[in-house]
Subunit: 328 residues, 2 copies
DNA sequence: TTCACGATTGTGAACGTTAACATCATGAGC
DNA sequence: GCTCATGATGTTAACGTTCACAATCGTGAA
């Protein structure tokens, strides 16, 4: 920077002012400085800047298994929104989901000097780790708990599950079976609750849910069991991958979808529209989730003192395709 | 840090030494310092450290559409390996794939002071951007060009495509149709070449390939065209998502897979094993790619002076499932 | 007892930037 | 012509580490 200053015949402070678009710099001085910058190929050192401003313009994201479509999409949305706002994104993907791991990850990020963290950790255990955030660290949880000491952005899982369940009931099905996600996932819980409440509201019997782990394999196994059960005409799977497994198991068992059994999923993965048959599902707007996360987080970073905690709920859409039809 | 030093009754330098596990610190001094650190809840400031050492222990990753299974998995592998090596990962996901975007992203990361960059940009245009890397910046490309001014880690696309094509020929198919990826993708090109060379080697006719954009939709459209063409008995799709679209189109057209037409994909996405029918495909070890990236990059960072450029090729596996069978 | 030498600890400067304040010129208003 | 506000620029001191070097302490051999 001092090289630039020397070449432009000004002080380093003036160079800094030009760089930061300070208004009080004469136009010709600015031009001279910019020229010098160009000539020397100078790039400012953001590390030094972060040291003195104690703002790194970096956000941390803690996530779990970014290979899954949901987390990957959320991450993408977060990164896009963050960069649009002039922030960098530093990520930590956890292999396991214990509170200790989340805590450690947040610790790392804190040391690194991030201005805030987004925690995409939709497990009950991981959400618990949020209760021991470093004081003063702005944070947003995606699908976090209802505890009030952290802001939360989430998709209305209950509503999504209700949409799916009601859709099936409206088609004349007596009741709807459910293949749920792992019990410690908040999303799994929300979808379970939504499904159950929709059935109860309609005064229908609530069958015992089958529990899976989000994987196609789990869906397949649940599908085999469902195919063997008499009277099953409608299945709501807690995500599309499991729905896909269910479809496979039903096909293998010679059960026709949707003629004999209707299947509905959740997520709207890119594959959903091209399965056999194309899958009726609940679409989540992960982009919106990412955007809201950054909005909330930036508000919190810019707030003076401990801001209030927000809770932002994104409504899901329902996409009707060919895997659901009127009851046989 | 000076607070810790005062509490422990030592100089700030000794605290630094304890933190960096310098050997020449007496055991009881170390204990006293650690105690003080604990008591004050002190965390070191990595930004200040980065300023003076000019090492941020952060790596940058530039990627394109991390929503896709391949890039997402590669990213995951990279992050895991980087963290294991004590590095942070800062990401930039590009929405579009022009060289300008890649250049800009690398510029951002350079300003931020990353110690090296991994560029996952398997398009010809993006790969070109690597030719104008900031001098002295360690870099690794995933699926980059063959140009020698940057290290490359890649999966042997040609070999994978040859495995798939030969498998189908061995099953007695006269020839194999191909649904390729977008022409400016290096992976698409590699798979096309592998497919073509396998056919030529066997002295078989080489049909005009159908070009897609990796999406299930593109596969579906290609599938419809293939279903209408007489004499098609085997199709090799350049990725699993397109293969899925092909399967869907064939199912719609009443063509049975694999009895009438065999289909093979590429990637082995988690869904592949549970499609109808389960998809024969080429598995890519993205974890290995991520690991190798970090290994190569760290070697380059630790090397004194301009190291040599490496080229590391990961061999794909072939997974036989039910979507391929002997020719009708 | 003395000395040399390695182990341990301390001191000051530096990394590259911005914040805070100081300085200087310019021009408007009386 | 004088004062005073305002805009443009410069000067100095941080930010929290590590590096290079200096100083001190202890220990074993002569």
């Amino acid at each position: 920077m001092s090289d630039v200053a020397r070449l432009a015949g000004v002080s380093h402070q003036t160079v800094s002012r030009v760089l930061n678009e300070h208004p009080n710099v004469r136009a010709d001085t600015r031009a001279r400085v910019l020229d010098a910058i160009d000539q020397l190929g100078y790039r400012r050192n953001l590390v030094a800047r972060a040291l003195v401003t104690s703002r790194s313009r970096t956000l941390g994201v803690v996530s779990f298994d970014t290979t899954l479509y949901g987390p990957a999409s959320t991450m993408y949305g977060i990164e896009q929104a963050a960069r649009a706002a002039g922030y960098f994104v530093s990520i930590v993907s956890l292999r396991s989901i214990d509170a200790e791991g989340v805590r450690e990850a947040i610790g790392y990020l804190t040391e690194q000097g991030v201005d805030g963290v987004v925690v995409v950790a939709p497990q009950r255990s991981a959400a618990r780790a949020l209760e021991s955030l470093p004081p003063g660290m702005p944070a947003v949880a995606v699908e976090g708990t209802h505890r009030a000491n952290v802001s939360v952005v989430c998709i209305d899982q209950i509503e999504g599950a209700r949409l799916a369940t009601k859709h099936l009931l409206d088609l004349g099905h007596e009741t709807v079976w459910h293949v749920s996600g792992p019990s410690d996932w908040l999303e799994a819980e929300g979808r379970l609750d939504g499904w159950r409440s929709a059935l109860e509201e309609a005064g229908r019997p609530v069958p015992e849910p089958l529990t899976g782990d989000w994987s196609p394999k789990a869906g397949y196994e649940a599908g085999r069991r469902l195919a063997a059960m008499p009277g099953v005409t409608a299945v709501f799977a807690a995500n599309d991958q499991m729905a896909l497994g269910v479809l496979r198991a039903l096909a293998e068992a010679g059960v026709r979808v949707p003629e004999q059994i209707s299947v509905v999923g959740f997520d709207d993965i890119p594959e959903a529209a091209y399965l056999s048959p194309p899958l009726t599902t609940v679409r989540q707007d992960f982009d919106a989730v990412g955007r809201h996360c950054i909005e909330v987080l930036l508000r919190q970073i810019d707030a003076i003192g401990p801001g209030t905690y927000e809770r932002l709920v994104v409504r899901p859409d329902f996409v009707v395709r060919a895997s659901s039809a009127t009851a046989p």
